[in-house]
Amino acid sequence: MSVLFRKQMVSLALVAPLLLFLIVFFAFPLFTMMKSAVSDPVATQALPASTNALSDWDRSSSPTSEMSAAFVEDLRQINDDQLFGDLVRRLNSAKAGFRTLITKTRTAVKATAGPIDLTAVDKRWADNSYWQVIAIATSSTITDRNLLAAVDLERNSSGAIDTIPAGASANRTILIRTFTMALAVTAACILIGFPFAMIAASVEGWRRQLLLGAVLLPLWTSLLVRTAAWFILLQDTGLINSTLMFLGLTTEPVSLIFNRVGVVIAMTHVLLPFMVLPIFSVLVGIPKTLMPAAASLGAHPVRAFLAVLLPLALRGVISGSLLVFMSALGYYITPALIGGAKDQMISSVIAYYATGAANWGMAGALGLVLLVATLLLYVVYLRLSAERELKP
């Protein structure tokens, strides 16, 4: 018993560094990011009295005097400008016009000490919709606003989920574009990688080393360098275009950069190893006698390939596709450098929210959508592969 316990402690000690690393640098940031996507504590923190007063309001009758009194009280208490700024941004993002309204009201409230008639300060305070926004903002410290906005949805005034007006946001378009481009890259990787892996698996010795080296070499250079190299190659005056023009295949340079074609070319090159290696490892594991056996049983080489080799290699193709597709979903540098404005993928939107707009909630929400989509795909893959193995 104690021996077993000691053994367990030793193995725990051995994995401890990894565990700690994963918790600190993976699980914890992931959790924080996901939390920031759904947390909404600003209004509750800034307006404690109003939070109480608004909690029993039915949101359809006209605002009561207790509500205004609590709100005025709260405004007077806010001394932290940072908190006030967050509050303004939070309310204004839900309803335009809040910025001027609340700044104006705060100035008026601070000017006097006693009770104050808000409708006299600004007649918009008689409008229920402003109070509704405050009520929603203070009702909970958790929100689905960011998650809904990530897929171009919002809650309307009655609280039902609705699509946002066309033109207000393009997240859905960009998400669809991200998936389409990842799909295109995956397809290109299969088309190039499968025959390549077949050849690499069928030769031996130095030829195999050479072929595998050719795919692996890109992995040893940095992604940025490879992308920069493509940037140079794909230009109108780059090597590819000058070769095409030299050969007389085209008179005008073909537009390869700042468009979808260039991005797909560069990403396919970068991600190809992740397709070739799984397929290769499955192919070399297939017994060498199966194809001769199929031939001896009367199968034409093409049919033997379709009936024997392809189904057996499919597992490698699926794992390769999954790897390529998932990595492609999160690509940032390559589309940013080689793509045009219309080729930006979801990661550049996330980067915009995270570093440009300081809207961690939206960045987290978009990241979460991506994560969920990827996990769903993975579950589907696991289901499929489990079925294949269990099938009697």
Binding site: A293, S296, L297, G298, A299, H300, P301, A304, L312, P392
Partner: protein, 353 residues
């Protein structure tokens, strides 16, 4: 040869500088069971693969049913092949594996399922039709491979050490099954093995290979009783090789002087010349204990080995050692005893050294 069905005509095969098969001439009759027997690396698999179409001969021609086939791709040769490791398709069930050749030939669905069912019954695997190869024992996989190679009714079946991986009991069962199928279906079988017992029990003819050449070809009894070379005598069964020189020849009998100057009599053969050196093969079971007709030798027992059904004695006499098989019911001899043994002149067979 007129009744030749498969013919190797001066076939050679080299891999680079390595000559694996040298000027092979071999005729196989329709319905014949021919075993290719030889040590590892003697070129047996290569010969089979050339027949099946997976290797091209470096020179020479291969004929089947009077048609030249050495340029024909494998899928057009219509020969059933059973590979050494069975080569079953792991992603197909047993019945899908067996149906594969029919599917490739566009056989109708109804016909296919009918024939698969019959094939499964033939190899007694009806209950396992929906299993995958990985869920079968070695012997079951072997039978699936056999059923798959036979279902499209090929006239020729090639088998490369199909029983190599099986334990002794299953192996003997399968040997009987294959022999039975061969007779029942009138198949022409080319069977590669390096197990001499297997070759002896199953074949109509055995071709013994060494270094890519046929050392001897003939019926099992010819090969066993009258080996033409020392290699064949030693490779097939156990034997005692006795060296000496011809002392005199007298009609049907020759007198041989052994290395310790004892003399024995043997049946004279054409190639025996007075004074020449010769080697004889004497099978252990042909040597009797005690004095008897023919030759007698005085020997001493140097070892006794118990084999269950018989005893094997290691003797020294006549200037060399002998192995003798004996009935275990005789009183147990012990090491160091002297023993008289005898054998007939007709059981001494001169071989090429």
């Amino acid at each position: 040869m007129d009744n030749s069905f498969i013919r190797f005509d001066d076939v050679s095969k080299s891999f680079g500088a390595l000559k694996v098969v040298e000027e092979l001439n071999l005729d196989i009759g329709k319905g014949e069971f021919v075993s290719l027997l030889g040590p590892s690396g003697s070129g047996k698999t290569t010969i089979l693969m050339m027949l099946a179409g997976f290797e091209n001969p470096t020179s020479g021609a291969i004929w089947s049913d009077r048609k030249r086939i050495d340029k024909l791709p494998p899928h057009k040769r219509n020969m059933g092949v059973v590979f050494q490791n069975y080569a079953l398709f792991p992603h197909m069930t047993v019945s899908e594996n067996i149906a594969f050749p029919l599917k490739m030939r566009g056989t109708s669905r109804a016909d296919t399922s009918e024939r698969v069912k019959r094939a499964l019954d033939m190899v007694q695997l009806g209950a396992l039709a929906e299993r995958r190869p990985s869920q079968l024992s070695g012997g079951q996989q072997q039978r699936v491979a056999l059923a798959r190679a036979l279902i499209f009714e090929p006239e020729v079946v090639l088998m490369d050490e199909p029983l190599g991986a099986l334990d002794k009991q299953l192996r003997e069962q399968m040997q009987l099954d294959i022999r039975d199928l061969h007779k029942r279906l009138g198949l022409t079988v080319v069977f590669v093995t390096h197990d001499q017992t297997e070759a002896l029990t199953m074949s109509d003819r055995i071709a013994v290979f060494n270094h890519g050449k046929i050392e001897q070809i003939g019926s099992p009894s010819e090969i066993y009783d009258h080996p033409s070379t020392r290699f064949v005598a030693e490779f097939i069964g156990e034997t005692n090789l006795v060296a000496g020189s011809v002392h005199s020849i007298d009609g049907h009998e020759a007198v041989i002087r052994l290395e310790n100057n004892e003399v024995i009599k043997v049946v004279a053969k054409d190639r025996l010349r007075s004074g020449s050196k010769v080697v004889f093969s004497i099978r252990p079971e042909r040597i009797g204990l005690g004095a008897g007709p023919g030759n007698t030798l005085e020997t001493r027992i140097s070892d006794v080995v118990y084999y269950g059904d018989h005893l094997r004695l290691l003797l020294s006499g006549g200037g060399q050692s002998f192995v003798v098989k004996t009935d275990r019911n005789r009183l147990p001899p012990s090491v160091g005893d002297s023993l008289t043994v005898s054998f007939l002149p007709s059981d001494c067979w001169a071989v090429d050294a």
